[in-house]
């Protein structure tokens, strides 16, 4: 019995230590990536292209990891000032006449359908993983079905 308790305690501490180390790794990774940007795939008129996004500054992540135990999503910035984060919902508008197997999408890319939007897009919550990576993966495999795909972007509109 004592051995089981000991193993459990060691496992818990081990997990905590690993998680903390992972956070540091994530921060370092974000900082490295920032210098060269990350590519996010987009589709328009049936053609896939890549745009650069830049993860948020290291200081933001450090501040957050100190203030809470929940990992803060990484924020990605486009060059025009629009942004999203690694946990942003994903919006997919499917091509007319192309059947979309929502269940399969949910399973394959760790998504959960929230609702169909008035714009015709299907709005998904990301259950596991990173929004950016999920979009890239979806477009790699399902582009023939998709008219447009995007994170739930925060625009950079200004009063005129």
């Amino acid at each position: 019995m004592k051995i089981i308790i000991l193993i459990t305690i060691v496992a818990i501490f081990g997990n905590i230590l690993y998680a903390n180390k992972k956070k540091v790794l994530l921060i370092d990774n974000a900082d490295i990536v920032k210098s060269r940007g990350i590519k996010i795939s987009t589709i328009r008129n049936g053609i896939i292209a890549e745009k650069m996004v830049y993860p948020a500054k290291k200081v933001d992540l450090l501040q957050h990891t100190q203030s809470t135990s929940i990992e803060k999503p990484t924020e990605y910035l486009f060059s025009d000032g629009t942004k999203f984060n690694s946990k942003s919902h994903i919006m997919i508008k499917f091509n007319k006449g192309k059947e979309a197997n929502i269940k399969e999408l949910e399973q394959n890319y760790h998504l959960k359908l929230i609702r169909k939007m008035t714009s015709g897009d299907f709005l998904f919550k990301i259950i596991r993983g990173d929004t950016l990576q999920a979009i890239n993966a979806i477009l790699k495999e399902e582009s023939d079905k998709i008219e447009r795909i995007s994170p739930n972007i925060s625009f950079n509109m200004k009063p005129l």
Binding site: R44, N45, I47, A49, D80, H89, M91, K93, M117, T118, S119, G120, D121, L123, R148, S150, N152, I153, S154, F155, N156, M157, K158, P159, L160
Partner: protein
């Protein structure tokens, strides 16, 4: 016996009619007034009966006079020689109404500087509409902006908080009292232009001074895609909102994002319900303030699609403002005032409570951010008049941000007069009746349907009076809509010579016929710097418009996946025949070829009489 019965019934009907009609006796009017005051703005039978009249010709409809406790048969109640509807003093006067040149220009100074004098008669010509319409029965106008000071003395009575939305908190309210101080400066100015309350002894009045206004502070929030969907299309299941005014944008980028127009399509199909039938919510969008930086309003799809009403800005002299972005997708102009708000005539409106400043307390902000600061507390501010002691107003609003709510206010009056107009008919009537200002400007073209269009002015200054006169009498709604699309593959790519003003011409024959309400061409090219390209399009009827300003502000945008250029300039013309594109690369350093053209049009099949 039968005869007597008929006589009695006849006398009874006559008596009912007499008592139901407007009485000219003072006693019966005041009795009616006292009843109606108990249910202001309600659906009183008598109010509805009187809604289309102004018995004393004082530019206030009788129904509104009754609601306010005024006498609808006395045009000058305080006997001071000024007609009630033009009052600037007393219990019913709007103190700064004579400064609101965009509503009624008498040629006085609008601001403090002598050079802010306006041009007499250059206004929205609203007084005749005010005999019957002031927005009371128009429905609800929506304003997506930075938020509205919902405690403002001249706005609070017209706000519909149930249909308003706090984009920060995702609940139905405009914002907290703290937010109204910090974030609502822009939205409060736009709100006053549309719907500041009239005849309350305060400040200014809106163009539709009794319309209800619903706000959203989306611009002051995270501006998420989903929150815009909520505000534009999901928060109004009963379809009470008739139009939305959007005084925001991105002045320097090109955006081929079709998301906005998909929301607009939903609004056009399912919203603004009259008697349970959707007539289509109107979406108004500011063209942009980037003329000096060579911004073209049609670089972003949200301002360049079949649904949107894109608005340019005029000064008091009826010429385009120095900042107003041009574009072939612009439908109409409103008044937005001059760029130099301290010296020239800008727009008088509400400002967040206590936030404006008198001229001697204003300094230019050298630290960036807002343009002006109040010297006494270093807060961002806007200028007001010497007699605005509570600092609740400003004469310094300007921009296509200001022009757009002026058009919104006018359209609210039009839709009060003709609520069953669908969204396409509204756009067509705007084009048909807009006033050709600055007629010697070379940008004007007259198309084969007889409509004049300019990339600087759209079809001209909004003309609510003309629209109402038409829609109330002889107007026949447009036939059912349709769309066409034709693709033109270019076998051997046509090279666009670098830095060559002549450019290339490419003609293509459209075989399908449609009467145009909106058209676009999607151009695919491997040109490495899309902003270098200046693009013109000539219709089969010979009308030419500039589809895109060359060397524009969008920096590098790509045509490799196709970029759609839209126009309203061909409204009323036929699609069938030979169209000619002229594309010139007017800046050196980048080259490419024309590869593909897709022609699209939205309109109807029957020629209008």
């Amino acid at each position: 016996m039968k005869k007597y019965l008929i006589i009695i019934i006849g006398l009874s009907i006559t008596l009912i009619l007499i008592t139901g009609c407007r009485s000219k006796s003072d006693t019966s009017v005041s009795a009616t007034t006292s009843n109606i005051q108990k249910s202001p703005e309600g659906n009183s039978t008598i109010i509805n009966f009187l809604r289309r009249g102004d018995s004393d010709n004082d530019y206030i409809p009788d129904n509104i006079e009754l609601i306010l406790g005024m006498d609808p048969h006395n045009p000058d109640e305080d006997d001071d020689g000024t007609i009630d509807g033009l009052q600037t003093s007393g219990d019913y006067g709007d103190t700064f109404f004579d400064k609101q040149w965009y509503i009624r220009s008498t040629g006085v100074k609008s601001g403090s500087a002598p050079s802010s004098t306006t041009v007499e008669g250059n206004d929205l010509h609203l007084l005749n509409l005010y005999h019957r319409y002031m927005g009371l029965h128009a429905g609800v106008v929506q304003l997506i902006d930075t938020g509205i000071d919902y405690t403002h003395e001249d706005l609070k009575d017209n706000l519909d908080l149930d249909l308003s939305r706090n984009a920060k908190q995702h609940y139905r309210s405009i914002g907290s009292p703290e937010e109204r101080q910090n974030g609502s400066y822009h939205g409060t100015m736009c709100a006053g232009i549309i719907a500041a309350r009239a005849f309350n002894g305060k400040g200014v009045r809106g163009i539709a001074p009794f319309v209800k206004l619903a706000g959203s502070n989306w611009i002051d929030s995270n501006q998420t895609t989903t929150e815009l969907e909520e505000a534009w299309t999901r928060g109004d299941p009963d379809g009470k909102i008739i139009l939305v005014s959007n005084s925001w944008g991105t002045p320097s980028v090109a955006s081929p994002n079709t998301y906005f127009e998909d929301l607009m399509e939903y609004g056009a199909k399912y919203l603004r319900k009259i008697d349970g039938i959707a007539r289509g919510k109107l979406f108004l969008k500011a063209a942009g303030n980037g003329r000096k930086n060579k911004h073209d309003a049609c670089l972003v799809y949200e301002s360049s699609n079949r649904y949107v009403i894109t608005v340019a800005s005029l000064k008091s002299d009826n010429t385009y403002a120095s900042y107003s972005s041009p574009g072939s997708c612009i439908l109409v102009s409103g008044y937005g005032g001059a760029g130099n708000i301290l010296q020239l005539a800008a727009i008088a409106t509400t400002y967040h409570t206590g936030g404006s400043a008198k001229p001697d307390n204003i300094a230019i902000n050298r630290d960036g951010g807002c343009l002006l600061v109040r010297q006494s507390d270093n807060q961002c501010t806007m200028p007001t008049w010497e007699n605005d002691d509570e600092l609740n107003y400003t004469y310094g609003m300007n921009g296509t941000s200001a022009a757009t709510p002026t058009v919104a206010g006018v359209l609210a009056l039009v839709l009060e007069a003709c609520p069953k107009l669908n969204w396409r008919d509204v756009k067509y009537l705007i084009a048909k009746h807009a006033i050709k200002v600055d007629p010697d400007n070379p940008s004007w073209v007259t198309n084969s349907a007889g409509l004049h269009h300019s990339v600087d002015y759209g079809f001209g200054l909004i003309n609510g009076e003309g629209m109402v006169a038409d829609c109330e009498k002889k107007y026949t709604p447009l036939p059912q809509s349709d769309t066409i699309e034709e693709n033109f593959n270019i076998d051997s790519n046509i090279s666009i010579p670098d830095n060559n003003l002549s450019g290339i011409s490419y003609s293509f024959d459209v075989t399908k016929e449609l009467i145009i309400e909106w058209m676009d061409v999607t151009i695919t090219s491997d040109h490495s710097y899309g902003s270098d390209l200046e693009i013109y399009l000539t219709s089969p009827a010979g009308t030419t418009t500039r589809l895109m300003l060359g060397k524009n502000s969008a920096r590098n945008y790509s045509l490799k996946r196709g970029f759609r250029y839209g126009s309203v300039a061909f409204m009323g013309e036929s699609t069938a025949g030979t169209w000619t594109l002229r594309i010139a690369d007017i800046f050196n350093g980048d080259e490419g070829s024309l590869q593909h053209v897709k022609f699209g049009a939205f309109g109807h099949h029957r020629e209008r009489q």
